[in-house]
């Protein structure tokens, strides 16, 4: 039985464990039908030309993990930003761990999707927001929607800001030979409210893990959202991240994606601008080696005038790694005075590494500023000589230049400890041992 069949036949078993009377279940039922029609995307589709899910579909994934897998804090501490105090929503093999988590209802809701999807007090919010920005026909999103039950639920009311950042952490213990996880997150940031979120998926063994995650983010007028995705997973862990963001006027949403690991990572990052004078920022640092594969698909849809979007993705590809950057910008006819910037710079450090980069601009307005630039290159020889002439050996000079190239994206990271952590991960990934503190 292939994975698609297995998933479809598992849906009935899934229904035994959820409230089928809840309106959300109509959405699930609709979604599984859509998935059944579409199935997994194949390389014949333009959007999946460079990323194949074929080999993953041959793995016999467990769809419903057994319960009660416990982890000790000391075993997972290093995967969180433990230098600072944070709210934590922690899942072990997809199951919420109250022991490792710190949630809150103190003026803001930082808790569980399973509560939001079942308790009557959340019903109204769920009616308004659940599955409203996520795609109804993209197959992996519909698959997640069909099985949506657990994940992080974050609701920040008007003018509020949580006292500390929120971490969403997923751990896979390897208790299953191979595990499919489908977390579903909902983040609602009301008018003039603010939140900072750090998300990380970590497999703790070499057993196969596939995570198909969907996150919906709603930023109301003047809301501020900073979202950091740290992707540094084991070489047997794959991630399909589908993030959908709906923004209203004067809001500011930044998503930073740091991709340093994993077997196959696909980031579908979609911004929908529904209002004026707002700013959407997408930044990424990708550093890959071995046979790792990362595919960044971004979309910014400018639907109203006077808005900005900024994209800056840097990639360093070594060994047999492969990368994809596909950045789509749509500017509607009405969206005059749009400023849309996109930049994707790549360095190939191995002859066997590959990057496919493609800007895709669809501009229907005539008074806009849109720029895009893709580069694929090697390190600058003049810069290398400059560093060497100061006594820095060639190997270290190369590492230092790559570090500088990637590090440059981090200026917009607003949590110093996150910046420091990413700096360290970059240095480690590049094998840089520089004579200074990161």
């Amino acid at each position: 039985m292939d994975l698609k069949e297995k998933l479809i036949s598992s849906f009935m078993a899934f229904e035994n464990n959820v409230d089928i009377e809840h309106p959300v279940h109509d959405i699930r039922t609709e979604a599984i039908k859509n998935f059944e029609t579409k199935g997994f995307p194949s390389k014949k589709e333009e959007a999946w030309k460079y990323t194949s899910l074929n080999s993953l579909q041959k793995i016999d994934f467990s769809i419903f993990p057994k319960e009660d897998n416990a982890l000790e804090y000391k075993d997972v501490k290093r995967y969180s930003i433990h230098e600072i105090d944070t709210y934590k929503i922690v899942f072990i093999d997809g199951i919420y761990s109250s022991y490792l988590s710190e949630t809150t209802h103190d003026g803001v809701d930082i808790c569980l999707m399973s509560s939001a999807l079942t308790k009557p007090m959340y019903r109204q919010v769920i009616d308004v927001y659940f599955n409203k920005v996520a795609s109804k026909d993209e197959s992996l999103t519909t698959l997640n929607t069909a099985f949506s039950r657990e994940g992080a639920y974050i609701y920040i009311p008007k003018n509020k800001m949580p006292k500390k950042p929120v971490e969403i952490l997923h751990f896979a213990t390897g208790n299953e030979a191979s595990l499919l996880l489908q977390p579903r997150n909902l983040v609602i940031v009301e008018e003039n409210a603010e939140v900072q979120i750090i998300e990380r998926h970590q497999s703790l063994t070499t057993n196969e893990v596939l995570t198909n995650s969907v996150t919906e983010i709603f930023a109301a007028e003047s809301a501020i959202v900073d979202y950091y995705k740290i992707q540094n997973d084991a070489n047997t862990a794959s991630l399909i991240d589908n993030t959908y963001i709906s923004q209203k006027s004067k809001s500011n949403v930044k998503v930073h994606t740091f991709s340093f690991g994993g077997k196959l990572t696909r980031n579908n990052l979609n911004f929908y601008q529904d209002g004026e004078y707002m700013d959407s920022t997408m930044k990424g640092v990708t550093i890959l080696g071995e046979k790792q594969h990362v595919d960044h698909h971004t979309l910014v849809h400018h639907q109203q005038p006077n808005c900005e979007s900024h994209q800056d993705y840097k990639g360093i590809y070594g060994e047999n790694s492969t990368g994809v950057f596909n950045g789509k910008i749509i500017v509607d006819k009405i969206a005059q005075k749009t400023n849309a910037f996109q930049q994707n710079n790549n360095i190939l450090v191995s002859d066997k590494a590959t990057i496919n980069t493609k800007p895709q601009l669809e501009i229907f307005a005539d008074d806009v500023k849109c720029s895009h630039g893709c580069t694929i290159g090697q390190l600058d020889e003049d810069a290398l000589f400059y560093l060497q002439s100061r006594g820095i050996p060639k190997k270290e000079a190369r590492a230092l230049l790559m570090y500088a190239f990637a590090n440059n994206v981090l200026e917009s990271v607003r949590i110093p400890e996150v910046k420091k952590r990413i700096n360290k991960l970059i240095a480690k990934k590049l094998g840089v041992n520089l004579g200074f503190d990161l």
Binding site: Y386, S389, G391, P393, L400, A404, F405, G435
Partner: protein, 250 residues
């Protein structure tokens, strides 16, 4: 200290240096002047070991050791320093971190431990004061967005930190206003000693009012065509390079 013998160098099969002879002794200041395209910057790059240039004949030796097979970083460890005409911008690496890395790599090459952080800070403070460099400047990305003057001052700051035996200043005066020129020249003069040497590459006599050379050499078409004392620089300033070119063709 630095001995250049019959040096020929090419880039992409085009010969640029066509037999240079130059001996620089400890304690001396040499000025190399000459029109555009005469090979001044190439000479500087070849001494510092830039791989793009191929030495086809002759040699460069430091303290009697032939540098032919010596990598640029090793030349730096042995005491060669080049102040770049166009210092490269390196976003993402601060001046301070860059200097720490450079100093500690040099120490490592000499079998020494990293310089203790406290000593490093003290050294940085001392040398930045010498060049009248603002502390804030040191945490900025190396050369990124620096003005022409700031870049050159930063080069001499690096020279002060690394304390080379032979410093080559490649058009350090270009892009400097008179105040910056004085600060830079003053820095170089303070670093001068009987144990080190400076080679000043310049178009104009201006810098040589501040850094007074013992010898002036005129480079033309890849060769030193005339050498003299500091008065030669004045003569060049007055008469230009045409008479040298004519003399050379004759």
């Amino acid at each position: 200290m630095l001995e250049i013998k019959d040096l020929h160098a090419s880039v992409e099969d085009k010969e640029i240096l066509k037999g240079i002879n130059l001996e620089v002794k400890a304690g001396e200041v040499h000025a190399i002047m000459g029109p555009n395209g005469s090979g001044k910057s190439t000479l500087a790059s070849v001494i510092a070991g830039k791989e793009e240039f191929e030495v086809t004949k002759g040699s460069v030796a430091l303290d009697g050791e032939d540098l032919e097979e010596v990598a640029p970083e090793e030349r730096a460890h042995k005491g060669v320093f080049l102040s770049f005409q166009y210092p490269v911008e390196i976003p993402g690496v601060s001046v301070t971190n860059f200097m720490k890395t450079a100093i500690n790599e040099s120490r490592k090459a000499k079998g020494l431990e990293d310089m203790p952080a406290k000593d490093m800070l003290k050294l940085i403070r001392e040398k930045s004061e010498l060049l009248e460099i603002d502390r804030k400047f040191l945490s900025r990305s190396l050369n990124e967005g620096f003005s022409g003057g700031e870049k050159k001052r930063n080069e001499i700051f690096q020279m002060a930190m690394l304390e080379p035996k032979v410093a080559i200043l490649d058009e350090t005066d270009s892009g400097l206003d008179i105040d910056a020129l004085r600060i830079v020249a003053n820095g170089v003069n303070k670093l001068k000693s009987k144990d080190n040497a400076v080679i000043v590459i310049t178009h104009y006599q201006r810098l040589l009012d501040y850094i007074v050379p013992d010898f002036v050499h005129v480079l033309h078409n890849g060769k030193i065509v005339k050498s003299g004392g500091k008065e030669l620089a004045m003569e060049l300033e007055e008469k230009g390079y045409d008479w040298i070119k004519q003399e050379a063709t004759v």
